[in-house]
């Protein structure tokens, strides 16, 4: 039987506020355990939550970016369950009235654009952490993370493959960073994902029974976990079995999922509106202010890059995927006065290649955009060839010198003086009569030999166009 995979994602994006969602404690990562947890975060008797208005602004921003309905009034609810790292015995979340309603965003997979629905996005507080290491016969609790603001973004079950799920997750990841509402740091848990997967026979309209894979914090793991889970479900279904609705945990080390709890064991969270907090009202003024503050979004930016710079879709998508990368590219275009095509090639191929190899982000690039623009300027004005430029780039990567200084110091300036090139060519022709003979008798390929020799003799500095021209003239058949 042909099976269709149905995937929906729940993404937790940690909102990049300085203080927690309901208290004044800092949200900074990595502090000594329990040094960033105040009485409110500890859930001491008598304390009350007070909403950090910044999280409301951020959620509204997200809602507008995915063209969602942003609710006039949303309500915080208590989600009740006992766990040692959940200090109050309930999590403050949103249930019936989330701040962001139905929206959507477009993903691209293998050149195809697909629209994915976002069911809702709601605000909630994070729990603390249980520390199982370093304590004999007991568990440590670190409540620094308790009360950190999260935006939970729930998709429609619109994805049909692991590739689509990853594309969607990446798109949300890019978007929240574009909007400056999440730092996107997946190692620190600022961005993590639950995946709901089910299979159904191709053509069937009802959904199959789903399993939920919890808390996956990398794109690679999401993809692998989905592949594994699809296989697991397929095996069961094809053997005539049925899928149990359950929550499963992905073990990245073993690359497999295992059951955490089934539907029967699932908690009854007994949600009810939190009487300590007033409903959140979004004023028209706030809406207008957030709208005015909205940056150019990736899709719009991509279209502009295609239109203004005549980039192909793939390159434009890549460059627009990060705000920093897009800014870098545009700075280079403006300051180098080079053709956008040349700039985009250099940024996406050379620069991104080098950054990836060193595992650096664009913000951490050793070559800032203005210095990079100087290099491209020298390619455009033919001071150096593209090939030499790669050498210059190497030097720039490892020093703070300007492109011009490196070209000067290393003597890499292109030889455009036709007299000098002619002299080199004359000598090569004289030294290689056999090859001249071959070429003249019709072997076109030998032309490349002469070009190569000329470049070699000139240490790559001869202007390639000039070399071609002179060689053509000298070896006239």
């Amino acid at each position: 039987m042909q099976w269709e995979t149905v995937i929906g994602l729940e993404i937790h994006a940690q909102l990049a506020t300085n203080t927690k969602i309901f208290s004044g404690a800092s949200t900074a990562y990595g502090a000594e355990p329990n040094t960033q947890a105040c009485a409110v975060d500890l859930g001491l008797p008598g304390v009350l939550p007070v909403l950090n208005q910044e999280v409301v602004r951020m959620a509204v921003k997200f809602g507008m970016a995915i063209e969602a309905e942003v609710a006039d009034t949303s309500v915080f609810a208590r989600k009740n369950y006992f766990y040692p790292d959940l200090p109050k015995g309930y999590q403050i979340s949103q249930m019936d009235h989330p701040i962001v309603g139905l929206g959507h965003l477009d993903i691209e997979v293998a050149g195809e654009t697909k629209r994915v629905g976002v069911t809702r996005a709601h605000l909630e507080e994070d729990a603390g952490k249980s520390l199982h290491e370093n304590f004999a016969d007991s568990t440590g609790i670190d409540l620094n993370r308790a009360g950190t603001p999260l935006l939970e973004i729930v998709s429609e079950p619109d994805m049909r493959s692991a590739k689509e799920a990853v594309a969607y997750m990446r798109k949300i990841h890019e978007l929240v960073q574009y909007l400056d509402i999440c730092d996107g740091n997946m190692q620190e848990g600022s961005f993590r994902c639950d995946v709901n997967i089910s299979l159904r026979p191709q053509g069937q309209t009802e959904y199959g029974t789903r399993a939920e894979l919890k808390n996956i914090n990398s794109f690679k793991f999401v993809e692998k976990a989905i592949y594994g889970e699809v296989e697991r479900q397929k095996e069961i279904l094809e053997a005539g079995g049925s899928i149990v609705q359950e929550t499963r945990l992905y073990d990245a080390d073993k690359d497999e999922t295992r059951s955490m709890r089934s539907k029967e064991e699932a908690n009854d969270y007994r949600y009810f509106p939190d009487p300590d907090l007033l409903p959140v009202y979004i004023s028209p003024e706030l809406r207008a202010a957030v709208k005015a503050d909205l940056p150019e979004l990736p899709d719009t930016k991509k279209q502009r890059f295609i239109q203004d710079y005549h980039l192909d879709n793939e390159t434009a998508y890549k460059l627009a995927s990060s705000k920093e990368l897009a800014n870098y590219f545009e700075t280079v275009v403006k300051q180098s006065n080079c053709e956008a095509k040349l700039c985009s090639n250099w940024v996406t191929v050379e620069l991104l290649g080098a950054l990836n190899k060193s595992n650096l982000s664009i913000q951490e690039s050793p070559i800032a955009a203005p210095r990079f623009a100087e290099l491209l300027k020298r390619i455009a004005d033919e001071t150096i060839s593209g090939k030499i430029a790669k050498q210059v780039f190497e030097f720039m990567w490892n020093s703070a010198d300007s492109a011009d200084d490196i070209i000067e110091k290393q003597g890499l300036k292109q030889i455009t003086d036709s007299g000098a090139i002619e002299a080199i060519i004359d000598k090569i022709i004289a030294d290689n009569p056999a090859q001249v003979e071959q070429y003249l008798s019709g072997k076109d390929k030998v032309f490349g030999f002469f070009v190569g020799q000329t470049m070699k003799q000139s240490q790559g500095k001869a202007n390639p166009a000039e070399v071609n021209k002179i060689l053509k003239a000298k070896l006239k058949r």
């Binding site: 009485a39 500890l42 859930g43 001491l44 008797p45 008598g46 304390v47 009350l48 939550p49 007070v50 909403l51 208590r78 009740n80 006992f82 040692p84 200090p87 109050k88 015995g89 309930y90 609790i141 009854d268 007994r270 949600y271 009810f272 009487p275 300590d276 907090l277 007033l278």
Partner: protein
């Protein structure tokens, strides 16, 4: 000195008739003499003396706030920095809050002296103070009767003149009912008038801190200090605080008093009906107009309350899990054992009952039938009051069905106990302000007149209560043995 009202004490202090230290020492002595009432959980003698010395310095320097040097005490539900805050529970018997409730902070800033922490029903759940881990409070008017609850310690201590005034909290009648049973003046302000920060939550949407004093004038002084918006409590009201003492002497000529016919039906005890009628007659003499009003949904108040309050408390009390503070069982085997035994040992029967009721009411499949329905009833009850208060200035009625009942009399039957709050609970559901004013005696036991006002109309309530206290002396009666 203990016979003086809080207002008189304040005047004497400001005039230099006596020092706060003298006063404080004299009250501390009385507290020691009357430990049999069991009204205090903690007496903070050294701290009180230290505060009194500071207050005397402030008074000597001049410009001291009106409560400077006045000895009061707080219901043990308000968190006090460095002092045990037990909430009447074994669960918090070892809990020392690292911060002050906003109410405590305000009294400290006003220079008031705190003599200690007052007994109460466990987590404010009870109508007789019999659920306290620290034992039952005795009513100073009749030793074998209850002081009411949950603010029973506050009521008994003020009635016995062990303090000049006390804080209390009222979720379903917990200020008004004990005030009535102990013959003192109790004020539950509008929901949101007094900050709940640091006031250990029972039912967050109903809880409200208030005053328990001898007179309405005393209440005005205390409320003046307690009331106001607090950035730490999102549900506190951003409303100006009027001068509560300014209108006490306004004439009641033309005052429209509404009497809900549902309060005065056949189920009302005849002696209580007579006592309340007598009180209403005093108002007629002062020129008030009596109007019958109807609030058909009042009868649903108790069932609605006993869904909403337990639902909220079931979540509010989840933080008492033995992990970070409070009672922890010995040698827990695992996490479940830690939870089950810590909570099982730490909570008393009534608290457990309400947690279970609330958990049930919020459970999947029951939520709509109980919680949502109760919220709808709550809205209907609010609407009844709003409608009635369009035609009248205040609503009056009894506070309790009977005067103080015997200790142990109703502990076997929780429903019987819940009915003790039948006249007070609806007010909390509506969030309105209400008072209990001493209005006579039945069998030598005090009873109270309830006065309910419109939202944020505390000044009017105090005026109406104060005028009654100008023509009656019920509030000046002192129980035998405490003169």
């Amino acid at each position: 000195m203990h016979t003086k009202t809080l207002t008189e004490i304040s005047r004497g202090l400001q005039a230099g008739d006596y020092s706060s230290q003298e006063l404080t020492e004299s009250y501390l002595k009385r507290i020691k003499q009357h430990t049999a009432l069991n009204s205090f959980i903690t007496v903070t003698e050294d701290l009180a003396i230290a505060q009194a010395k500071q207050a005397d310095a402030m008074l000597a320097a001049g410009n001291a706030p009106v409560l400077t040097g006045v000895p009061i005490a707080h219901k043990d539900i308000f968190c006090t920095q460095g002092i045990k805050t037990s909430c009447g529970s074994k669960m918090l018997d070892n809990f020392i809050a690292p911060y002050n409730a906003t109410v405590i902070e305000k009294f400290n800033q006003a220079g008031a002296i705190s003599l200690g922490k007052l007994n109460m029903d466990e987590f404010a759940m009870g109508s007789s103070n019999e659920t306290s881990f620290y034992g039952t409070v005795h009513n100073p008017w009749a030793e074998n009767t209850v002081a009411g609850g949950s603010s029973g310690g506050s009521a008994a201590a003020v009635a016995a003149r062990l303090i000049s005034g006390a804080t209390g909290t009222d979720t379903g009648g917990s200020i008004r009912q004990p005030a009535a049973l102990c013959g003192i003046t109790g004020l539950k302000p509008t929901y949101g008038r007094v900050s709940r920060f640091g006031m250990i939550a029972y039912a967050s949407s109903l809880d409200q801190g208030g005053t328990m004093t001898q007179t309405a004038a005393d209440s005005a002084l205390m409320l003046q200090t307690m009331a106001g918006f607090d950035t730490k409590d999102s549900t506190s009201a951003e409303q100006d605080v009027p001068d509560y003492s300014a209108n006490l002497n306004n004439s009641l000529q033309g005052l429209k008093i509404g009497l809900p016919k549902e309060f005065f039906d056949d189920s009302l005890n005849a002696e209580m009906a007579t006592a309340i009628e007598t009180a209403i007659n005093e108002y007629k003499k002062m020129g008030a107009e009596i109007i019958e009003v109807s609030m058909p949904n009042l009868k649903l108040a108790i069932p609605a309350y006993y869904v909403i309050a337990p639902a909220e408390c079931s979540a509010n009390l989840s933080r008492m899990d033995g992990v970070r503070f409070g009672h922890r069982c010995d040698n827990p085997e695992d996490l479940n054992d830690l939870y089950i035994r810590s909570r099982g040992e730490g909570f008393g029967t009534e608290v457990k009952r309400r947690i279970l009721v609330g958990t049930y009411a919020l459970s999947a499949g029951y939520y709509d039938a109980y919680y949502i329905k109760a919220q709808k009833i709550r809205r209907l009850i609010s609407n009844d009051f709003t409608e009635a208060l369009k035609t009248v200035d205040v609503i009056m009625g009894p506070v309790t069905p009977t005067p103080a009942f015997g200790i142990g009399e109703k502990t076997k039957d929780p429903i019987e106990m819940y009915l003790a709050d039948i006249y007070t609970i609806a007010v909390n559901l509506a969030g309105l302000p209400a008072m209990s004013v001493p209005a006579g005696f039945i069998d030598n036991k005090p009873i109270g007149l309830q006065i309910i006002g419109n939202y944020f109309d505390e000044a009017k309530l105090l005026n109406v209560a104060h005028q009654y206290q100008q023509v009656t002396d019920w509030h000046q009666q002192t129980p035998q043995g405490f003169e």
